[in-house]
Symmetry: C2
Amino acid sequence: MTQQNKRRQALELIRANLADENLITDTAGLRPYECDGLTAIREMPWAVALPQSEAQVIAILRICKEHHIPVVPRGAGTGLSGGARPNQDGLVLGLSKMDRIIEVDPLNCVARLQPGVRNLAISEAASEFGLYYAPDPSSQIACSIGGNVAENSGGVHCLKYGLTVHNVLGVRVVTSDGDTLELGGALYDTPGLDLLAVLNGSEGMLGIITEVTVALLPKPEQVVVMLAAFHTIEDAGKAVTNIIGQGIIPAGMEMMDQLAIQAAEQFAHAGYPQNAAAILLIELDGGAQEVENLCRQVERLVQASNAYHIDTATDEKEQMRLWKGRKSAFPAVGRISPDYYCMDGTIPRRQITHVLASIEEFSKEYGLRVANVFHAGDGNLHPLILFDANQPGELAAAEEMGGRILELCVAVGGTVTGEHGVGVEKLNQMCVQFNASELEQFFALKHAWDPHGLLNPGKGIPTLTRCGELGGMHVRHGEIAFPDIERF
Amino acid sequence: MTQQNKRRQALELIRANLADENLITDTAGLRPYECDGLTAIREMPWAVALPQSEAQVIAILRICKEHHIPVVPRGAGTGLSGGARPNQDGLVLGLSKMDRIIEVDPLNCVARLQPGVRNLAISEAASEFGLYYAPDPSSQIACSIGGNVAENSGGVHCLKYGLTVHNVLGVRVVTSDGDTLELGGALYDTPGLDLLAVLNGSEGMLGIITEVTVALLPKPEQVVVMLAAFHTIEDAGKAVTNIIGQGIIPAGMEMMDQLAIQAAEQFAHAGYPQNAAAILLIELDGGAQEVENLCRQVERLVQASNAYHIDTATDEKEQMRLWKGRKSAFPAVGRISPDYYCMDGTIPRRQITHVLASIEEFSKEYGLRVANVFHAGDGNLHPLILFDANQPGELAAAEEMGGRILELCVAVGGTVTGEHGVGVEKLNQMCVQFNASELEQFFALKHAWDPHGLLNPGKGIPTLTRCGELGGMHVRHGEIAFPDIERF
């Protein structure tokens, strides 16, 4: 049979397993699936399947394996690193129609969910029991729990409550062979190798998630949001390390620098002090008395770090006002510059002052402005490098400067990505972060799950050849030692 | 070269890399390494190596790979499931001499440790900064952090603060090829597949841990220990689910039944009410005001579950008295019965009442007494089945009854092991817990790390043949589908 006939046959077999409207092959219908939230990188898929049950997922994966068709899983398509960018000869497997909340169990504080359930819908369903689901990506209205698991998503409240991996108790996953595995469950500790943790952040490279069990937390009795303004970035950085160093873990602790403050204030009118060199937004939660005590301690600590202005919001409306500036910071920066390049690196907290000072030096060196808006509490930086793609050389300069920022993150003991995943966007940076042995180990695990390399090929892990070409690669024992990995 | 000469050569090569006293080959010297804390299962090793540096670990692993010599890593030898039981043709690689605390970093709240550092020594070193390391296995005076990572150890305080995997931020690990990998680090979120989580609980099957970075927590301002006594087990079980269902996560919540209470009281004189059908020991920690509030809430909740006696200890001496009975429960039960068989299963909390009632029925059916002492908060049961091995049939009856308890744990949505690891002890139970596809996936991962099967062979994962013989195995697609796994 020709390759084309084989593909036609595969399509017919897939069609036989799905309702008509759930297999898309026409150009107009495929267009919305061309990219995810990383819209700069696009590719038209061969076809899109939207299964409504685990049985359909199993059938589709068996057909794809039989016919050697790559499969690109997709949640809500809100990812920022291109993890769901299609392959032109591959099937996009969209999980959005598997969106049922199977069970909310308030006694065990868990919920069982199909993968397409939206992040915010979990907390809405748990609300009647006084519970909520903690990880809160900024896309939480739209993004789905299956995608959250695939990217190990973060959010403002992950400082205190952990990333997705710390809040997921179990998954059901279908392998590329069409086998179903149950990993973890509604329990704390489970025997065997921790395959559940591997699924978190595996970016669709290992299996298709068909069910997720998450932990629910009690809604805090009291919440307070505090804004603290500083005359220098150094003082703001010191305040962060002083607070954490005292053993206080706020629910969230965000930092913005002057350019970000001014852009956000003009856009959102949140009442930020526009002359501050940096502000911190600190959310404290817990029992009423506990929060009152924490508030006093944090106030004392930010004052000891030379905060010159403190604004404490105890009612919800005021809290929403303070958060509004932070939450609209990215579009606000988009208004003051034709283009910006958003970095996503993580550093040890005690390095914040040093790294921000170095970024300012880079900024002068390259003549490009930088707005810093980031999760200061867990050291996850999002420097936005402002540039104008219409000015010759500015894009290249922004990219080079971005590269130097990420190398600095690694040099001070940090990482080249925080919460957005690797996808296709950060493959080059992975060559800087990991040596050949470490990348080989990633590929060995990928191969153990997906021996034919059909699940989300080309994502998440750079090939050693790619890294070798970049020159950023430690070569092991004088040779690239895993010759057959190129096929992934 | 004959096999014997090859082995002799390997020994000389290992000897060349170590100080004289760090390679043991004489019978008297090998004897202490014959077993770990599971003393019933013993085997004399071929040799014992005690490296003092990562470079020595690398050299030894390369020699063993070259000469096809199995390697059994060993921490402090306190494990309860035989994970460090030697192989007669294998090298025991003891990490006890790599016991340096490399760094305590109070600003980032982390400590970097060699694998042989004792669990309690971490908290002792962090104490001057007001910090401590939370996971506290009952062997914490002796057990080491490398072994804790290998077994993903638990402890009383893991209810609130998580298991080892939740408190380890990074490891350095040497693979069976002698390559060094850095997984995780002093940061919250790191890119790539979560190999760090896989190392936690991998029981020495994937690599040799040469460095561990752990998170440190601030010591709580206030601690209270509460004893609540109940006339029925059902009421005690209800109190557990009521407390957790209200979103209160105590630092620890332990349950003991009447037989365990009486044995412990006679042994430790902790002041337990000897007629209680069950007691709960509940530890609450946090800020002073928070703990006072929690205390009131928990008191109300246990009263609502018909607690007839409550004893609250606020000073350290009284708290140690209350804990003393619980901590000596195992030796205390050892005094009232010639033998006991300690089970280790985990169930969803809401099933506690049902499972304990079923265990009591089993107890009547088999005519064997059971003492229950367990981590009620996270549903981790340790039923102790009392028997006399000198009475014909009693050992067999105890084993059969134990098997039925574990099957019940699985049937209600639980697992066949909690915190002790699988080792060699629970290989059969893994056949009940996992289907063939799931076990294959464990083996595929094992193979990806250790293609020659030299690291701790025969531990942690049962072969499909073993499971098939037990009859507890789901066979996949009508066949056992991974024929070459037998060599592990």
